[in-house]
Subunit: 428 residues, 2 copies
């Protein structure tokens, strides 16, 4: 059952928060061992939270909805290790702002989902629920797997390069990365503050919209909209997408047209050519500063991948960092023109299906530029690739058009033929 | 002795870190009771740190320099209470990135300086060292007072509205607020992430430049420059400045001209008219999210001033917040034109001398717009007002021109007639 459906049922007293949680706990008991989505889990605490919600007079927007929290996000009642042995067992003194807002809205926080090391590339134990020999993607690996596997309806992730969109696409669920700055990152481990953004992983767009309101602490209902106008955007990296991904994006454009949307081709602007490299420079430069304590005091306990990133960041001259920031700002000023006449672009979510093996988490190439542009994006599980694994399609809108973007995504979700069954969709 | 002079003496073995620290400790022992600059102080730990520096082979850029750390910034070896009874005695598990960088550069961290409650308006115990019945300003109250009183040569502050520039001006020292994003805020309590910026309080511009390099973890030596070009900018709030402040800024322009600088008048652009109100909206909106845990769990332990700000933030519609962000971005795109033909503007640092009384920290009106514009600024203690208290003059340059801005400030400092004596200046 989706969060939206469960919340309705709980509000109407057809279901209790405790019963809904029990379904999740049973699924987790059955599936956690092969999947490994959780870094920490506390069923007893979750049950107490659910019963408190059932007893409350004004239980809030997310009354009784279990939400998985990426273990890069502080929780005052559960350890938070940021995916690193340095912080194994570390107990923050209080909740991150996003967790406090979820709790205040009535959410149940049952545990912490696996993250890669400090939200970069070194994976944890999580497997892809669609195929256990394949990566779930990262860095929000456990959040994507837990949601895809039906352990929780929704989970929080964070994105600095592609850490929400990529795992959501690989696991066949909905992923939403907000406009930069929309959600508070207070109490979330900083990686690259010019890029870091909170995101939501869910099995339906409605559920994303529901959680988003709690995180904003503001009403922003999902609007019904008329036929949207899309731009098919092959981006600067089309050749990095495999054949089934290219086919999926192009067929999506055709299908959207058949559904009544208008479609134009939107070329990657020449001005955007350097964005992906700029994102890499900014991420490395800022990571070397954000992780100063870890780099200077615990260097022996960092992975080779992270060590390499931090060395790159220290080798990056200030002038190059500033140039990269300048490129981003200039490109952001072009966004109004880029989105002129369209509501959103459609493009690949990732180069292909989830890669085989658990040593890596796949390539963030199809999100780096968008993340640096600060635009909101959504991935929808619209297709299946040659290996039988999910292929996502990414929708991207202009900054602060998150409400409209989610409305577009819901428009697609409601009309897409055969959308639900292979993807654990709630409307089945 | 300034940090720059001490570092030279320590490098040449004319002074040990331990001896330099001893001078600071004596001053603190003598003056802490009337001033109240420190929230926490650990002389024994500081001595151990200094001796370790004296024993080190490569002691670093800040070898043996004691640096006060505003108590909004996490330290792994000292409690951090963020100016709130909620967190009295709270011990972070590790150092903020900025503290880790200072330590790696050889700095000695003797304690935590008093901050207002969560870096907003409710003051701590600190008094102005120039006149104990007057506010030291805030929110970096203890950092400004400790430096002004000669307890430490330098200290870290943070600024969301005017929290570095205002206390530095009121206490008669040099204050520097960096270009937004220049310094990592990892491990610094978030207030309003679109505005929060680290700053440095010191008794000389050279000292600011020295600490800045450690925080950047990059070489950026202070350049010698030729005669600068200044714009006299009365801002939108000239009438809020008292007569002695207006006179000071105008006489500064005359004096700079006499020293060989060129001066033009730079009007406040019409496009900038809404910046101060936009800053207020953004600060309130974001504070209500950043302080979600405190607001939702500890509301009874927040001051009336903070409670009012958070209520304002919750009442601010998303549309108004987005509009305010849009105003800021548009104005930032005008900055190149605003600074065309000049190196920096000069303007008031605050409406006047430090106000009498310890219940408030003064008005941030002369920094709100600059902070929102993300530009770097410096206040220099160039004059004395009618009450005999310091009056600062603020210099503001375009974003990422921090190195040039500090060079301009040093150019003034070295040439300003009679600069040193009343302001505890190191060159006496």
């Amino acid at each position: 059952m989706t969060a939206t459906a469960a919340r309705q049922a709980i509000a109407e007293r057809r279901l209790t928060a405790d019963e809904y949680l029990q379904e999740c706990l049973e699924r987790i008991a059955e599936r956690e061992e092969p999947i490994g989505a959780w870094e920490f889990f506390d069923a007893a605490s979750a049950r107490r939270q659910a019963r408190a919600i059932d007893a409350a007079t004004h239980p809030g927007r997310l009354a009784g909805i279990p939400v998985g929290i990426k273990d890069i996000i502080d929780t005052g009642d559960m350890p938070t290790a940021y995916g690193s042995p340095i912080y194994a067992g570390h107990q923050p003194a209080w909740d991150a702002a996003c967790v406090a807002l979820l709790r205040a809205a009535g959410a149940v926080i049952p545990g912490k989902t696996v993250t890669t090391e400090f939200a970069y590339f070194s994976p944890g134990k999580t497997r892809n629920p669609r195929a256990p020999e394949y990566t779930p993607g990262g860095s929000s690996s456990g959040s994507a797997a837990a949601v895809a596997d039906g352990m929780v309806p929704v989970a929080l992730g964070t994105q600095t390069a592609a850490s929400v969109i990529r795992p959501a696409a690989f696991c066949g669920i909905v992923g939403y990365k907000a406009t930069y700055g929309s959600f508070s990152l207070a109490g979330v481990k900083a990686f690259s503050p010019s890029l870091d953004t909170l995101g939501i992983l869910a099995r339906s767009v409605d559920d994303v919209a529901l959680v988003r309101q709690a995180l904003l602490d503001a009403d922003e209902a999902l609007l019904e909209i008329g036929p949207p106008r899309f731009g098919l955007c092959r981006t600067a990296h089309w050749s990095a997408a495999d054949a089934s991904t290219q086919r999926t994006v192009e067929q999506t454009a055709e299908q959207l047209k058949a559904m009544g949307a208008s479609i134009v081709v939107r070329d990657w602007p020449a001005a955007f050519a350097d964005l992906t490299e700029a994102q890499k420079a900014i991420m490395a430069f800022e990571a070397a500063r954000s992780y100063a304590h870890e780099r200077l005091v615990h260097s022996g306990r960092l992975s080779a991948k992270l060590t390499e990133l931090l060395a790159l960041g220290l080798a990056c001259p200030l002038s190059r960092y500033r140039e990269a920031l300048g490129i981003a700002e200039k490109c952001r000023s072009e966004l109004v023109r880029f989105f002129d006449g369209i509501d959103a672009v459609i493009c690949p979510s990732a180069p292909g299906e989830a890669p085989k093996g658990l040593a890596g988490t796949g390539d963030p190439i199809f999100s780096r530029a968008w993340t640096l542009l600060h635009v909101p994006s959504v991935t929808l599980p619209l297709a299946t690739g040659d290996n039988g694994l999910p292929v996502g399609v990414q929708l991207v809108a202009d900054r602060h058009r998150d409400g409209r973007l989610l409305a577009l995504a819901a428009w697609i979700e409601r009309r897409w033929p055969g959308y639900s069954s292979p993807r654990n969709n709630p409307r089945v």
